[in-house]
């Protein structure tokens, strides 16, 4: 897929070289998903990840006796799915489309195989994931501050 236009609008891959990004993009499959669909389910093997090209996805968690709660929504420009590269390699949440979405979908095994053979590419991917996880960690901690509540 050609993801150059997408890349320009998202700061996430700005540190990755054009060559590595082009290679990554060559592994993408375009996928359209209707609204209300489950992309992946918590605790199942995390064998994919997505770049969100259009639409919004809700990350949810539920217990057997509780209604599902939305932890976070991610929209256009986001990387959806870190668990394919982090132990225990299972989804931590369930992802559900909020509206019709378009994704660049990646087969994690294919990307990981490429990482095994090219340590520079591995390094570049790890850097993206570390930074994305760090950025989200910061955001979720701010959410936790409950800023809008009473003092």
């Amino acid at each position: 897929m050609n993801l150059d236009a997408w890349r320009e609008r998202s700061p996430m891959f700005e540190e990755m070289s054009d060559e590595h990004f082009a290679f990554l993009a060559s592994l993408a499959e375009e996928r359209e998903v209707p609204g209300g669909a489950t992309l992946f389910r918590v605790n199942t093997p995390a064998d994919r990840f997505y770049l969100v090209l259009e639409g919004t996805v809700a990350l949810k968690i539920a217990g057997p006796s509780k209604p599902p709660m939305t932890i976070q929504t991610v929209g256009e420009g986001a990387l959806l799915g870190l668990s394919w590269h982090l132990p225990p390699y299972r989804w931590q949440w369930t992802a559900e489309t909020r509206e019709p979405c378009r994704f660049a979908e990646f087969d994690a095994n294919e990307v990981l195989a490429a990482c095994e053979t090219d340590s520079d590419f591995d390094n570049a991917m790890l850097r993206i994931i570390a930074r994305e996880a760090g950025r989200r960690l910061h955001n979720v901690r701010i959410q936790l501050l409950d800023l809008y509540g009473r003092e």
């Binding site: 609008r9 929209g75 986001a78 955001n139 979720v140 701010i142 959410q143 409950d146 809008y148 009473r150």
Partner: protein, 285 residues
């Protein structure tokens, strides 16, 4: 663009308390109410600029500074949105139509909506912070053709903490406004965004060198947003923030709201982020 403190041109007798009658009370959320008031002394309506505040005095209880939340081109109704968090604000939220309270003001600096004519407008509010920016939104919408793109980003604790929910739906329905809403915690029925406001800025289109940003909410939120706008190339001088402080007199007499050499009640509440980062040590946040 300069957001220098402006001299308030509407208060001739700064300490004068004027009687206002409550004409309508609307409950916004579990702890927040909006009051409509009209002047009860037969005098002029209370004209104000977006971002200014008044001192609301409940006779026998006490006085608090509250930003004006109404439409500056309809000064015949003075609108205040108040969250019940203390003795005075609890008393205000318990008021019913027909009651008369005392009002002084308006006081303070204002959002640079006139200076921003021709620019793209980015308004970011958090929680109760939507109230002080609502007059700016009214102004921009009434002069919509004088601005470039207009974006409103609003973050709230939960869906039921969203203020002005009918108006938000109206704003969202417009084609000439980009309205992004998010909550920290969703509920079973909430189909909107969940998370902090920062990532929503990715969904806005604006010319970073020809825009004006208006931020009002928790200080940490304003700082994070200001940094993200800076990352996108926006000069921090074009970012205005509103500060809430311990204002008592409203006119710089008493010193309660003094920070450094300035008084929030006179030099604020609206200031350029530049000044705030420096004077209030917000970079130390």
């Amino acid at each position: 663009m300069v957001v220098a403190p402006l001299i308030t041109d509407t208060v001739t007798e700064p300490m004068m308390l004027r009687p206002f009658e409550v004409t309508a009370v609307t409950q916004e959320t579990h702890d927040t109410w909006t009051l409509d008031l009209k002047v009860a002394d037969g005098g002029d309506d209370l004209r104000f600029r977006p971002g200014q505040f008044t001192m609301m005095y409940v006779f026998g209880v006490g006085e608090v500074p509250i930003s004006i939340a109404g439409n500056p081109s309809h000064p015949e109704t003075l609108v205040h949105t108040v969250r019940a968090v203390g003795a005075v604000t609890n008393a205000i939220c318990a008021l019913r139509p027909g009651t008369v309270i005392g009002i002084r003001g308006p006081y303070g600096s204002s959002w640079p909506v006139v200076a921003a004519t021709g620019r793209d407008i980015i308004i970011v509010a958090g929680g109760i912070g939507l109230a002080p920016v609502r007059p700016a939104i009214y102004h921009v919408l009434e002069h919509r053709e004088s601005y470039g793109s207009v974006s409103i980003v609003y973050g709230s604790r939960t869906p039921s903490d969203l203020l002005y929910i009918d108006e938000i739906h109206d704003w969202k329905s417009r084609f000439d406004l980009n309205v992004q809403i998010t909550v920290d915690r969703g509920d079973g029925t909430w189909m909107g965004d969940v998370g902090v406001v920062t990532p929503l800025l990715n969904r806005l289109s604006f010319d970073a060198n020809h825009a004006a940003a208006i931020l009002c909410g928790p200080e940490i939120m304003m700082r994070v947003i200001a940094k993200e706008l800076a990352r996108r190339g926006m000069p921090t001088a074009d970012v205005s923030v509103s500060l809430e402080r311990n204002v008592k007199c409203g006119v710089g007499f008493c010193g309660h709201c003094q920070i450094g050499a300035s008084f929030i009640c006179k030099d604020g509440p609206v200031v350029a982020y530049d000044d705030v980062a420096d004077r209030l040590g917000m970079e130390e946040l």
